[in-house]
Each structure stands twice: as structure tokens, then as C-alpha cells.
């Protein structure tokens, strides 16, 4: 018997990485204690480089001081995955879900995150794929359009996915993105022939793809300024 599953979506606009991290920690703790339902943060970051738990900083090609000159921040995190870049015009989703409640393991959860981005790309006529062994993420041919880095603690997820709508791809030149040196990074803008609507529309479509794939039938939308 399927109980209607509830998802609360928070539209946060542009948020600093640190602020989003603190919010996720609080929400994950609340979710673990069943104080809140499954929650999805929909946001963008200012220019930020992040590393995962493996601390693969050999994939950062410039000294940290130079990042500061660029106006970019650097964070070491507990998520899986390698080094990546986040910035304006990149859609980010941070799902704070109880995987036990929805019966998913890490592998299936990440596959669903890939499918979310693949479906969104398809809305714009872009044929993307995932399920690449040892190269988790979403690809258009040999060009990466979506990245994933997740943390699961006591069955509660944090961090999530980043989908390139139209970020400044030059920022990727300062890293070996995701530790993969021979492949390019791309964006929806680059891959589609269609005219893109307002970014908030695309961001909301990404959320809808997520909700549909994960089987949420009851969605509540909340907006930014009142929450933080």
C-alpha cells in the first residue's frame, strides 16, 4: 500500500556554501528525529570550489590564494566525490531524505539523482546519460553536464546534485573536475538548440523531475527569505 509521500521544497535563491551546509546539518538532525518530512533545498551558490571526504586537493591546479583573488571560496566537506565547482547559473538540489523510509540504498539513490538530471536535460532535447561505472554523474557524450556528491549519515542524505544550466565554464580550468582529466564540462546552454526560459523555471522543473522520480505526490513549496 502506497502512503502518499510528502516533500517540502525550499526555494533559497543564492546562498553561500557555508550557510547551506549549516542549514543542511540542522535539517538532517531534524529529519533523523522525524521532526520534519523529507526536505529538498533548491538553490545556487556564489563561486565556490569544494572537495569531498577523500580530500583530493591534488586536483586543485592553482594555489588557494589565487582562488581568493578570483573571488571564489574553497571548502573541504564530508560528501563523496572529488573536487568540483559551484557557481551562479548552476542549479543545485540538496535532498535531506530518510533513505530507510523510502527503501533506497546509496546506489539506487544516486541513480535516481542521475535520472533527475537526465530527465531535465531531455525537456530541452538534450540526450544525457548516467550509470557510468566509476564515473558517477550525468554526461552528454564525453562532456559532463551534471555532478553528484552525497553524504549519508544514519540513513539521512545531505549534499546532492549540481546541474549546469549556464555557469561560467572557465572556472573549471583551475581544477581537474571530479578527478577526470580527459573529459570536458558542459552546460544546458551549450548543448541545447532551444531558447532557455528564466532560470527559476528550469530550477523548478528540476525539482519536479526529482519529485516525480522519487514518488512524492504531496509537494509543499516554501520560499527563501522567510526561512533563513
Amino acid at each position: 500500500m502506497r502512503i502518499p509521500r510528502k516533500l517540502e521544497v525550499w526555494r533559497l535563491g543564492r546562498v553561500s556554501y557555508l550557510e547551506a551546509l549549516k542549514l543542511q546539518e540542522k535539517l538532517a538532525s531534524d529529519r533523523k528525529m522525524s521532526k520534519i518530512p523529507d526536505t529538498l533545498l533548491s538553490l545556487q551558490h556564489p563561486s565556490t570550489y569544494t572537495l569531498g571526504k577523500r580530500r583530493t586537493d591534488h586536483n586543485l591546479l592553482v594555489p588557494e590564494s589565487e582562488l581568493k583573488n578570483m573571488g571564489a571560496e574553497l571548502y573541504y566537506t564530508q560528501r563523496g566525490g572529488d573536487i568540483t565547482f559551484h557557481g551562479p547559473h548552476q542549479a543545485i538540489l540538496y535532498p535531506i531524505l530518510s533513505l530507510r523510509d523510502i527503501g533506497l540504498g546509496a546506489r539506487k539513490y544516486v541513480e535516481n539523482l542521475e535520472s533527475t538530471m537526465i530527465e531535465l536535460a531531455a525537456l530541452y532535447g538534450v540526450k544525457a546519460d548516467g550509470l557510468r561505472k566509476l564515473e558517477t554523474g550525468v554526461w552528454v557524450g564525453e562532456r559532463k553536464i551534471g555532478a553528484i556528491g552525497v553524504r549519508i549519515s544514519s540513513g539521512i542524505t545531505s549534499h546532492g546534485l549540481a546541474f549546469n544550466i549556464d555557469p561560467d565554464l572557465r572556472y573549471y580550468k583551475h581544477i581537474v573536475p571530479c578527478g577526470i582529466s580527459d573529459k570536458e564540462v558542459t552546460s544546458l546552454r551549450r548543448e541545447t538548440d532551444m531558447v532557455l526560459p528564466d532560470e527559476q523555471v528550469i530550477q523548478d522543473q528540476l525539482v519536479s523531475c526529482f519529485a516525480r522520480l522519487f514518488g512524492y505526490s504531496d509537494i509543499i513549496w516554501r520560499n527563501g527569505s522567510s526561512i533563513l
Partner: protein
């Protein structure tokens, strides 16, 4: 038991997840292997208690749901673990998953092979893929864990309800 191990390795080879098998007979719905003689936590870790030492790892069900493990983060010998609290993490498919200890105690040995060969957790979750050995501080915690039959049923119910 042999049939279950075969099923498990076939399932792994075909990358089947027990979550996606709704109605199935005659095998148990849970394709993963479960060993007798071990105790199990509901967060899918196992404990093997021999004398004064308890060996801890994650189950076949857990490794199957994680995917290929590429990195293992383990604590140092001499540290302590607390029941139901995280002591380390594994990374698979760009996800780091915390591993919780089923019992409390002092860490007396850590499987150093896992830093070079993290995939042992997938290929040999109950043997070469062991993670830490502890001196349990509280025998009653072991009693409270599930046995093989109970854990098998637990897996089946968990997978069935979705």
C-alpha cells in the same frame, strides 16, 4: 546456504538489487547472503564475537545497496566506539555512507588492507572485508542484536515495504 551464496554472487554479477524483486519464490526475496553465527544490527552491520574480541563489518545486503566501494575511512586503534554511533565511512558512487558500530568498546585492530583494496567490502563482506575489531565493554549489547534468521526477515520486510 550454498544456494544463497550462489544467488548472491549471481545477483551481484547481474547487478540485481533485492529492492526491485517484488514477488519471488522459491528463494528468499532477499538475494543477499546472511551468515549463521553472526549478530546483526538494523543498520546492516554484523558482529562476530569470539572470546574477548568482536569483529565488525557490513553485511552482503549493505554492500549490494552501496555499490562498488572506492574508499574506506576507519578510526585508529586505541580509540573507542559507541553502540549505534558512527565510527567510519565508506564511499561508493560518489556517496559517503557512515558506518555505525553495533556495540561499544575499545578498538584493538583495524583492517589496514581496506585502504589499498576497499573493494574487499564488496567481494568478501563477512571475511576479508572486516572493518574493525573491538573489545566489547557491554555484553548485553550483543544479546540485543538480531540473529541470522531475524536479520533475514528484517531485510525482506525492509525491501518488501517499498
Amino acid at each position: 546456504m550454498a544456494l544463497r551464496m550462489w544467488a548472491s554472487s549471481t545477483a551481484n554479477a547481474l547487478r540485481l538489487s533485492s529492492v526491485s524483486r517484488p514477488h519471488f519464490s522459491p528463494l528468499s526475496r532477499c538475494f543477499s547472503s546472511v551468515l549463521d553465527g553472526l549478530k546483526y544490527a538494523n543498520s546492516h552491520e554484523w558482529v562476530k564475537h569470539e572470546g574477548s574480541v568482536a569483529t565488525i563489518g557490513i553485511t552482503d545486503h549493505a554492500q549490494d545497496h552501496l555499490g562498488e566501494v572506492v574508499f574506506v575511512d576507519l578510526p585508529d586503534v586505541g580509540g573507542s566506539v559507541t553502540k549505534a554511533t558512527g565510527f567510519g565511512a565508506v564511499e561508493s558512487v560518489k556517496a559517503t555512507s557512515d558506518i555505525n558500530s553495533p556495540v561499544s568498546g575499545e578498538i584493538v585492530e583495524v583492517n589496514s588492507k581496506l585502504s589499498e583494496t576497499p573493494g574487499l567490502i564488496n567481494t568478501s563482506p563477512y571475511e576479508d572485508g572486516w572493518m574493525i575489531k573491538v573489545k566489547p565493554s557491554n555484553a548485553s549489547e550483543l544479546e540485543a542484536l538480531m540473529g541470522a534468521k531475524e536479520y533475514t526477515k528484517f531485510c525482506e520486510e525492509e525491501d518488501a515495504s517499498h
